[in-house]
């Protein structure tokens, strides 16, 4: 059992900057947790506290039920892959992989067997006698992984391990790491600023902003039920449109005024929210993912927005359309490429209430419907 738990953990640097605020987070044994957020959000600091490379200002960090706040990194039996890989340049690939085992004073025969086993798993066998300086980025990354894997640690920590690779290799390694984690079943904490990595790799994803944990949930839940505008805007690519809205009382269900146009939400059952009148009163912001903008023919007159095309980007079968709505608000829509659009053209787009997100003045989402 290697459950990891942060209990009300704070990190305050000597200069007074608080990098992490009151963090409460539990990571189950064998789980793949991804911590994601913009730079400076505290995700790396959290990882480094877990590794023992940063002190914890207050609160408790538990690994398998034991408080490890004051343990030296080497006493925590944790393996880490760094962004720069941090390979030992004077050692061969084999020397790098064997190093943690040698430090643990394992018998030489066992060191060798285990290093070879891991090298085989990561297809590093032909490179064992090379120095890191002669390896490509992807190979170095693999060596760093091997060095972490060889130890059989209680947890793997990975600090943006793919950010130095080119796009194609990154996609490939992403799948490999996820597969490897599933095979070994070792608890893994993975830090990235790339939400695509977060969504594709993690069992659960923890979203950070300004040192505060915003939401931790499965990728699907994060996508479908973001707790606030930050998570809503951060998760999903391209980003969700967040547009000022105002509720207008009307018969036949709530109506929102968006960019000077009226959008009927229907009788409440159509949205993902428990939209009581009192809730609807609090709506100030409407979230709409670009891919959720629908053909105006599919919805009624009372669910359309009109705007002028500012720019289109062809992505193959689809196109990104940047629309300036009637009050000047920018709306991004992902439409089928068949629809030929010219800049300056006036078009209508449809809004499906079932796909809307609604937020309150403090940025929090309205309560979602249960189930």
């Amino acid at each position: 059992m290697a459950e990891i738990a942060f209990r009300n953990v704070n990190k305050i640097y000597p200069n007074g900057f608080q990098a992490v605020h009151r963090l409460d987070l539990s990571i189950a044994d064998g789980e793949f947790l991804v911590m994601v957020g913009p730079s400076g959000c505290g995700k790396s600091t959290t990882l480094r506290m877990l590794a023992g490379l940063e002190t914890i200002s207050s609160g408790d960090l538990l690994i398998a039920g034991h408080r490890v706040n004051d343990l030296h990194p080497r006493a925590r039996n944790i393996a880490m892959v760094f962004q720069s890989y941090a390979l030992y340049p004077h050692k061969t690939v084999q020397g790098n992989i064997e190093f943690p085992l040698r430090m643990a004073r394992l018998p030489a025969a066992e060191v060798k067997t285990r290093a070879l086993e891991v090298a085989r798993m990561l297809e590093l066998e032909p490179l064992l006698q090379r120095k890191p300086g002669l390896l490509s980025g992807g190979q170095r990354q693999r060596v760093a992984m091997a060095r972490a894997l060889v130890r059989d640690p209680v947890a793997f920590l990975m600090d943006e391990p793919l950010s130095n690779l080119d796009a194609k290799l990154r996609v490939q390694m992403r799948a490999e790491i996820a597969a490897l984690q599933r095979r070994t079943g070792t608890t893994t904490v993975y830090v990235t600023h790339d939400q695509v990595e977060a969504m594709t790799m993690g069992d659960r994803v923890a979203v950070f902003k300004d040192g505060l944990l915003q939401q931790v949930d499965t990728p699907q839940q994060l996508f479908e039920r973001p707790v606030n505008t930050f998570v809503a805007g951060f998760i999903g690519s391209p980003s969700m449109n967040l547009i000022t809205a105002r509720r207008e009382p009307a018969g036949g269900g709530p109506v929102l005024v968006v960019a000077g146009e009226r959008i009927s939400l229907g009788k409440g059952m159509e949205t993902r929210f428990n939209l009581t009148d009192a809730d609807a009163e609090r709506v100030v912001c409407l979230g709409l993912r670009p891919e959720d903008v629908v053909d105006p023919q599919l919805v009624g007159e009372d669910r359309r927005l009109h705007g002028r095309v500012a720019l289109t980007e062809l992505l193959g079968r689809e196109q990104m359309v940047y629309l300036d709505l009637r009050d000047g608000t920018r709306l991004v829509a992902r439409l089928h490429a068949d629809r030929r659009l010219k800049a300056g053209e006036e078009i209508a787009v449809g809004i499906d209430p079932a796909r809307l997100y609604l937020f309150q003045a403090d940025g929090r989402a309205l309560p979602y419907r249960q189930g």
Binding site: G52, L53, H72, R74, M80, F82, A86, F99
Partner: protein
């Protein structure tokens, strides 16, 4: 044309630099009687190895050499160990008073060596190390210049590499020993050469500390040949020639790392 002039000037300067060495080599093979007769090179039939034989027969030259090797070797090893350890601490750890410590260390470099001779002698006297090799080795164990040299070089070792080692199970000394030192190899080579030359050629301090001739190092032993009433210049030149050899050999062994070490940090990459 301009290039030709530059090369000719360079050759000229190179020759000028070689003159004392050529003179040393020539003198080492001149008989004492010819020393002032032939200012430069004597005729071939006057060349002799007598100076070398007298070195080994008339005086304990081999003993001097062994003494020098022992003192220089021990000093270099100890200096290397303590200077690199100190440099590592200054480069990679933050501790209270670090700036003050570095300031004081730098200040000590500005004190001229001779000023310290008397207090050092007093200290060594009270430690009972007068007329012993330890009296030469102990004061030379730590070298502020070396510490700064290592600090500068170790600043460029990435912190992530140290952290990786920490996570891989190293304690702080093992990080130094297994990761930082191997990575600092060029500077180790450069430092060994500088430290070896300094100790090997050191004259003043050994002259003050050493009294028994069987403990003399090479420079002191060679100096012994110039007496008040007679001077065996031939033997002295032969001895000097032999004394220079280890430094030359060491330089050629380490020259690649030496050059790399001295220019390290000059260019990024």
């Amino acid at each position: 044309m301009r290039r030709l002039v530059v090369y000719m000037l360079l050759v000229l300067f190179a020759l000028l630099c070689l003159v004392p060495i050529a003179w040393l080599v020539a003198s080492a093979f001149k008989a004492n009687a010819d020393f002032h007769v032939y200012p430069v090179v004597p005729p071939v039939d006057r060349l002799t190895l007598a100076n070398f034989t007298s070195l080994f027969t008339q005086m304990p030259f081999l003993r001097f050499m062994m003494n020098s090797f022992f003192v220089a070797g021990a000093t270099v090893i100890l200096q290397l160990f303590f200077s690199s350890l100190g440099g590592f601490a200054l480069a990679k750890y933050d501790f209270a008073g670090k700036k003050a410590v570095m300031g004081v260390m730098l200040a000590t470099m500005m004190i001229p060596g001779p000023v310290l001779l008397a207090p050092m002698y007093e200290l060594i006297y009270h430690m009972g190390l007068i007329d012993s090799h330890l009296g030469l080795i102990v004061p030379g164990m730590v070298n502020v210049f070396g510490m700064f040299l290592f600090r500068q070089s170790m600043l460029s070792v990435p912190d992530e590499m140290l952290q990786a080692a920490r996570i891989d199970g190293c304690n702080e000394f093992q990080i130094f020993w297994h990761v930082v030192m191997p990575v600092s190899r060029p500077i180790v080579g450069a430092f060994c050469l500088i430290a070896f030359m300094g100790t090997w050629n050191s004259f003043l301090w050994p002259q003050i500390i050493l009294q028994s001739s069987d403990r003399f190092t090479l420079p002191i032993g060679l100096n012994q040949m110039i007496g008040v009433y007679e001077a065996d210049y031939g033997a002295m030149m032969a001895g000097t020639l032999l004394a220079v050899l280890p430094v030359v050999v060491l330089f050629f062994l380490l020259q690649k790392e030496f050059i790399a070490g001295l220019t390290k940090g000059a260019v990024k990459g």
